[in-house]
Amino acid sequence: MSTTPLFFESVGQSIFGILHEPSAGHNLREAVVICPPAPQELKKYHWAQRQMANRLQLFGYTVLRFDYFATGDSSGRSEEFNLDICQHNIRDAIAFVKASGLVRRVTVIATRLGGPLALKTLESERVKRLVLIDPVLDGSAYLSRMQTMHADMLVESPETAPFQTSDACHRQLLGFSFSEALAAQMRRLSCAVGQLKAKSVYLLQSENAANLTALQQALTASVDEVHIKTVGGKLKWDDLWSLQFQDFPNELIQETLDVVRFG
């Protein structure tokens, strides 16, 4: 078994990834590509994706987790974060694991913002299975929620920081740069599905997360198998405090692993 930090190229940029490879004697020749959420949710998610990758590696899967351009350890300044480039990054991540020659099937696990981005990418990229965890269904509503959280932060925390400065609201959300162009991309984002090149889709939703039934129905038109599961444990994606903690419920990690292993 080996775990290798690396950079791979995507649209001319260096994308950071960690490749988890199983031991030679226990290699299922299946790969899992993990698509993370947006930058402000990465802190909450990072430990969970490491746990998923480590356990899948033990079960014989090759796993690639990566940071989108201008997020995490990848190249690019935070203000260059761009949803179109993210889709290229997902495509190149899938191509990267397929290029090893040993992988016969690929599963994509996409969480939150990764969900609509992966759906769009898989209109042209063939995979065995797509697992969506609490996907963002409506970019416009997601953006509004982030704006509300940012406004709440400015009001609720003045005792620890006098946030009421003119620059506190300008082109930024929750600690990250947020240009008008990115906001426009976000408003256009949705889980509207074209012809998907995945054999099966699993929709996992945590308690209190957005209802995925409409998405399930939309996907049924183009995908043979669409399953939906509600998993115990609240992820509190909309909670300002909760974004600072790695409190991803173990039930959701376990359910994700079961879906990848047993379908």
Partner: protein, 271 residues
Amino acid sequence: MKQVAIRFGRHADMIGVLALPSGPTLVVKRALLVWNTGISHRIGPQRMNVEIAQQLTAHGLPVFRFDLSGRGDSSATEGAIQSAVLDVQEAMDYLSAQYGYEEFILHGLCSGAIEAHYVAAADKRVVGLSMIDTYSYRVGNYYWHYLKKRICSKQAWTRLFRRFQGPKTSNQQQAIDQFFVPFPNIEILKTDYAAFAKRRMPCLVVFTNGYEHIFNYAGQFQDMLKGIDLTPILTLHHHSGADHLCTIIGQRERILDRLSLWIESNYLSPI
């Protein structure tokens, strides 16, 4: 800036990213090291450690950001003693052996700052110490400033009222549990700073408003270490406009500019 992904450590179980300048490098082989804040991974709050790398490599200084054992992407080695000092020393050993770096500047925020202090005290390869929201003791005029501010503050009265209404929420308690790191004993601090002064090791100390509950006036750090002449080595800034995790971009940029200026004035001598 060029970045290299690295696995290192005695058991090759730690992970980091070395950011190298694309332009001229320094005469002396130096690098800045930065690692986790609390349990969050090496990129830092709001990707601050990556921004540090982008800014300082532009000045010719390589920056290595990595995860301590058991945090972020680094594994906890079974049976090994977990210690930030040992982990940082392994990073220094690796960079010396593979890249020829001889001197190191350490930078940390919160728990990372306290860990940086311990490493600087233990290892003479460390030639600079930069800390944001580090240890502080309520000495000197702290309580005078505390009272003055509280009496005139509407928020303080509101907070006091809330405290009588009920205990801390579970989220707030979780925050305290996850990020609490004990401060070094004040007598040990005095001994360490006497040694730092003897080594002529520059120290940059920045406090944000997030630490106002333990640091509330500019001279408090010197009052805490009374008897030691810190003038030749200490640069101290009180950024009362920033919160603990430097969330607002403008404030974060101001703090990073302070760090760049400090690096520039103390270490940079391009070829």
